[in-house]
Amino acid sequence: MSGIPVITVKDLVKRFGKFVANDHLSFEVYEGEIFGFLGANGAGKTTALRILSGLSSPTSGEVIVAGYKAKKDPEKIKKNIGYMCQKFSLYEDLSTRENIMLFGGIYGMSKDLIKKRTEDLLEKLNFLEYSDRMISDLPLGLKQKLAFSVAIFHEPKIVFLDEPTGGVDPITRRQFWEMIYETADRGITVFVTTHYMDEAEYCDRISIMSEGRIVALDTPEELKKQYDAGTVEDVFVKIARPPNPPKGLPA
């Protein structure tokens, strides 16, 4: 971690009609950091993530990603970020190699560079035997690793991971986090949303959203101290649980 901000958000507001999805968010994410973005379903995480990745534009406020303003240069932002969504996002009917080549091409990489990096990647992942197999033949764990590798294949400044480990077994999840660490060590910032609280412990810093606002932002250790909780999960439950639970539900 260097302390140089790669994402700067100031007073970000996003409204859909009368509904305020993001209510004056302000935070910074630093280069090479693993930033955990937590919150209950409907807290506004996805909306914020969509704005940061250029899929949607803010109603007001300032968003700077990888040095470009989200309102002015969403196209430039797109070239400098990687993205992996909850749903598995490679093409099932293309081979491993074809998927890598396709995304390399979409990000404007040169043919030689794509070739070289593809071989490196296949070797690093021990994927050589799968390289010409269709993605649909791969086990889920391998697919997930590959999807992540493809998301950072063009060496972006930031990679956004939207619940990347949903439905994956614990061993694969661990391996996946090893890949995340390695990526952050290389200086690529990792911005990750998750529902697994043990994963939140792995992050450098986490923010917790509730009802459109960021209600806590610090290192996991600091937050645990602050809220007098043993785990991040306890912190989360204390913060994210609405003060008045809806009628008919147990408190």
């Binding site: 899929l55 797109k78 749903k87 396709l102 979409i106």
Partner: protein, 369 residues
């Protein structure tokens, strides 16, 4: 541009690796042309008929020979009495029975008048009507010959009927344009809406939208392969109809292909529009099949003439793009007319295309908000 080409290549890979897509693209058009051309025929050929000839004279022999040598009928063993008629029909051995009464030839020569009956199988009304019309025509012809040879022959007014553009009233003149119209809207609208909603459903659309590819590139890249393949489809259908059915293209081929491109473009934009309103592939398939294919078959004038539709149905038909394309393609292929006779339909199709593209762009923007 290089990004874009890689993206198009990927779409072709999707198509060529999916057996079902290939069947829809190339198998169905071929099958439809052959089925509609050969099986669903409105002509009669080798219809089985039999005779109950109670007179058995020279005149009845001449008439029956004339009927059987026309090429439309095949003669089945003659019947011997009235009771056999019902049985022959029921067994389905014959489609019609021609009955000559006692002393047919004698009556005709001496009294100048004789009666024969044609009994046809009414359970198939279309065929029955065709058969009786054909036989009546042959007998009328025989009458005229007879009148011509005898001095006392009456002078009869004989209307001479000619069918313009399709002198033999061949059925595939109607079916080939219809099949092209149907296939194109099916392939373009259905396949486009499926391929786009598939990306949405699998989550790859989001990855594409986050990438430096512009939305317009994504849509064009997905649609362009279908444009090319459906154009190849049209050429395939035209060549097939040329070789198998001798179907001519009387008008300008260039005009025909240009109009076809417009129609393909219209169908593609309709497919894009469908994909913007459906969340899943199932939905897209449902809308395309129920909303497009059925109305195209039933209400576009493909099979049932629009002029005969009850009020309301013809209005509904007016909003169906295929209806206009059928007029255009029939005019060019069969009548050989030029652009001045189809400009109105062309204009309507152009307006519809613009409308569909406009609506799609609007829906797409709303989704991205």
């Amino acid at each position: 541009m290089k990004r874009f080409l890689g993206f198009i290549k990927k779409e072709f890979l999707h198509i060529f690796r999916d057996f079902r897509t290939l069947i829809i693209l190339f198998g169905i058009p071929t099958a439809q042309i052959l089925i509609f051309g050969f099986v669903v025929s409105t002509d009669i050929k080798d219809a089985r008929v039999t005779f109950l000839d109670l007179s058995k004279d020279e005149v009845t022999r001449k008439i029956s020979d004339k009927i059987c040598s026309s090429g439309f009928f095949r003669r089945v063993d003659d019947l011997q009495n009235y009771n056999e008629i019902d049985m022959a029909m029921k067994k389905g051995i014959v489609k019609a029975v021609i009955v000559f009464g006692d002393n047919f030839g004698h009556d005709l020569i001496n009294r100048g008048k004789a009666t024969m009956s044609i009994i046809a199988d009414g359970s198939e009304p279309n065929t029955a009507t065709l058969i009786t019309n054909y036989i009546t025509a042959i007998v009328t012809d025989f009458n005229r010959e007879l009148a011509g040879t005898s001095a006392s022959g009456n002078i009869l007014v004989q209307p001479e009927v000619r069918m313009f553009y399709n002198p033999e009233l061949k059925g595939h003149f109607m079916f080939v344009p219809g099949v092209i119209t149907l296939i194109l809207i099916l392939v373009c609208a259905l396949m486009t809406s499926i391929t786009i909603t598939r990306e949405k459903e699998f989550g790859t659309m989001e990855v594409l939208l986050v990438s430096p590819l512009k939305p317009i590139h994504i849509i064009v890249g997905k649609v362009l392969p279908y444009f090319i393949l459906s154009f190849i489809d049209v050429i395939m259908i035209l060549v097939l109809s040329w070789f198998v059915f001798d179907l001519p293209i009387k008008g300008s081929l260039i005009l025909l292909l240009a109009e076809t491109m417009l129609y393909i473009l219209m169908s593609l934009s309709l497919g894009i529009l469908i994909s913007t309103v459906s969340k899943t592939m199932q939905q897209a398939i449902f809308i395309s099949l129920l909303g497009l294919m059925l109305p195209t078959i039933l209400l576009s004038g493909f099979i049932f003439p629009i002029e005969n539709m009850p009020k309301g149905y013809d209005w509904f038909s007016a909003i169906l793009p295929p209806r206009y394309f059928i007029v255009i393609i029939k005019n060019i292929m069969i009548k050989g007319t030029g652009f001045i006779y189809v400009w109105k339909e062309t204009l309507i199709l152009t307006i519809m295309t613009t409308l569909f593209i406009g609506l799609s762009v609007r829906n797409f923007k709303v989704r991205l908000q």
